[in-house]
């Protein structure tokens, strides 16, 4: 039953499995729903879709698989009352058009044809070239029963002309995102090194038992909580060519801030020079000297640059090459310094890896960070984190 449906769902990228299929069958077996298409739609939706971003895709697949199958299912055959037909005609026809139709034959004849067409339409439930329900030119309403169409007879039996799944109410939520925050976090987890540091605020049970046994009286031992001791410096490129990647970088950033306790982040533009900043609105007023960073944060910090590395080669190689200000020392100098102070340095590039070779500056920067440039994809992040763990300070 419905194997076709499961296949189609999987083809559309909804991770439907055998397990869910069994659940659906079990639910049908237990009469969870009344036997109507809508209820079946709701049930299968709640079984197969677990992410609101996929709801719209599900609606489309459902429509494709069950189109025509469910139309008359569990409902009375259509009968169209005479006066209602008239009402429709009057509602949608201008007097001129009425005349034009009348020239085709008697009113009764026309109505008879319309009735037939409507019935036929009901069965086929889609456009075609018949004049009831095709796009625009028909006098009986523009798109017939189709989603965007005029719902002929909204109050009558034809209410079901527009199925719930055809409304596609969840269209806005569909996001074919490549990286969810969860996935990013899982990738970042590679970079964990647990250590107990700081104030003792957790009961050390083993220590306490041992101490108590040794002393003969209750000896409570406390210890600091286990934290991820990895320290991270994050440099983010902002503005200009980075704009298309804002969403992606935001996700990475939010995942990183929740994953690492010792995280410092700074912004730069295009290439690293003598100053960076923490607040983009006050980037000119409140700058941090890059030297200060190199001095303040120890060698055990790991450095991650996030930027597209797309710029004019002069911005890297020449003093004064920066597009925004006059830099006394070239970008190469600064990047070399950072790579020297922090052996664990990687550059994460949101631009797809395939395009890197087209940009001179990308190749140069990749060289400057010792070849450790990774694309901002799950695999890339994973590799970058591995690289960082491998490079012990």
């Amino acid at each position: 039953m419905f194997f076709n449906f499961v296949d189609e769902l999987r083809a559309a990228g909804i991770k439907a499995s055998f397990k869910e299929h069994l659940v659906l069958l079990e639910a049908l077996d237990k009469d969870v729903i009344e036997q109507t298409p809508e209820q079946f739609y709701y049930l299968s939706r709640s079984v197969f879709v677990k992410d609101e971003g996929l709801l719209d895709r599900f609606d489309q697949v459902f429509n494709k698989v069950f189109k025509g199958l469910l139309t008359n299912y569990g409902q009375n055959p259509v009968d169209i009352p005479e006066d209602w037909l008239k009402a429709v005609a009057e509602k949608f026809l201008t007097p001129e058009e009425m005349e034009a139709i009348k020239s085709l034959g008697s009113w009764e004849e026309i109505m008879e044809t319309l009735k037939k067409r409507l019935e036929e339409q009901q069965k086929r439930h889609e456009g075609g070239n018949k004049w009831v329900g095709t796009g625009g030119t028909s006098p009986y309403g523009n798109d017939g029963y189709n989603p965007e169409g005029v719902r002929i007879g909204g109050e009558s039996k034809h209410k079901r002309a527009l199925k719930v799944w055809e409304k596609r109410e969840f269209q806005n939520l569909d996001n074919t995102r490549e990286l969810g925050t969860r996935n990013i976090k899982i990738a970042l987890r590679r970079l964990r090194r647990f250590a107990r540091e700081g104030s003792p605020d957790e009961l050390d049970l083993e220590g306490t038992i041992e101490g108590t046994a040794r002393q003969g009286w209750l000896d409570i031992r406390m210890r600091p909580e286990r934290h991820n001791a990895v320290k991270l410096l994050l440099f983010l490129d902002v503005g200009g060519s980075m704009d298309p990647f804002i969403k992606l970088v935001e996700e990475l950033f939010s995942a990183a801030t929740s994953e690492f306790k010792n995280l410092e982040f700074f912004y730069f533009h295009n290439c690293l020079y003598e100053g960076v900043w923490k607040d983009n609105r006050r980037r000119w007023a409140e700058r941090t000297n890059t030297w200060d960073i190199l001095h303040k944060y120890g060698h055990d910090y790991k450095v991650v640059f996030v930027g597209d590395a797309a710029m004019s080669p002069y911005e890297i190689t020449h003093p004064g090459g920066s597009v925004e200000h006059f830099n006394e020392e070239a970008g190469t100098t600064w990047l070399t310094r950072v790579a020297h102070v922090y052996p664990a340095t990687v550059w994460i590039n949101p631009v797809p890896e395939k395009q890197w070779s087209y940009s001179q500056s990308t190749k140069m920067i990749k060289e400057l960070v010792g070849g450790s440039m990774f694309p901002l994809t799950l695999q890339g992040l994973d590799d970058a984190m591995r690289e960082l763990t491998r490079k012990k300070h």
């Binding site: 991770k15 639910a27 969870v32 709701y42 049930l43 709640s46 992410d51 969860r182």
Partner: protein, 280 residues
Amino acid sequence: MRFEGTSNYVATDDLKVAVNAAVLLRRPLLVKGEPGTGKTVLAHEIAKAVGAPLIEWHVKSTTKAQQGLYEYDAVARLRDGQLGDERVHDISNYIKKGKLWEAFTAPQLPVLLIDEIDKADIEFPNDLLQELDRMSFDVYETRERVEAKERPIVVITSNNEKELPDAFLRRCFFHYIKFPDRDTMQAIIDVHFPGIQKTLVSKAMDVFYEVREVPGLKKKPSTSELLDWLKLLLNEDMPLDVLQQKDPTKAIPPLHGALLKNEQDVMLFERLAFMARRQN
């Protein structure tokens, strides 16, 4: 035992199907949706509708899965051992039952609400997989097995702060509470404020949906905010024409504190009003 919504909770058809499926098949129901669309309230209403007691487990960032099963108070036992208390010989005296245990062994079939599961550590849902699937777990200290006589009805809410693992999702029914359209919203308001003036509601809803349409809002106001706001408007006896005025220079709706919960959003509105004034 069918869930049809209650006298003070408006349930849409798709929600009813999802709830009934979860209740009949006894699989967890995962509810997502914008904050304030009635996720937590739903569990209360299901409990009320099926006449079952509600056990609430509010998850925080520090909550561990184990705490839902049981906790072993080793320190108390050590202390009692020192004092020569008789209780010390029975380890089960120091086992504290968690919410899941409570739900599994409740005399009457309960509804278990696991609220805001996404708040906890990223591994939290994975740690509960087996327990929720089999509805049983082992207590290692006393070598006993806690097993649910009847599988409880489990409702899980999530705010989408963290995504949930696939294996966990496979075991749940899922429902996304979509933001109510005007008709549903009208029904919700009728349930909460019977006899409220129709014009006030329709004006307030105009303003409300307009506010939601403003691009760039950090936190869009939701159902619960609209209800609070209406309550305030009623309390203050706000004259109707205040809501009606279409003067863009006063873009901030009256008593906006109930609708806009974020100072950046209030500032956004002030800026819009300022820009409108300058244009005139």
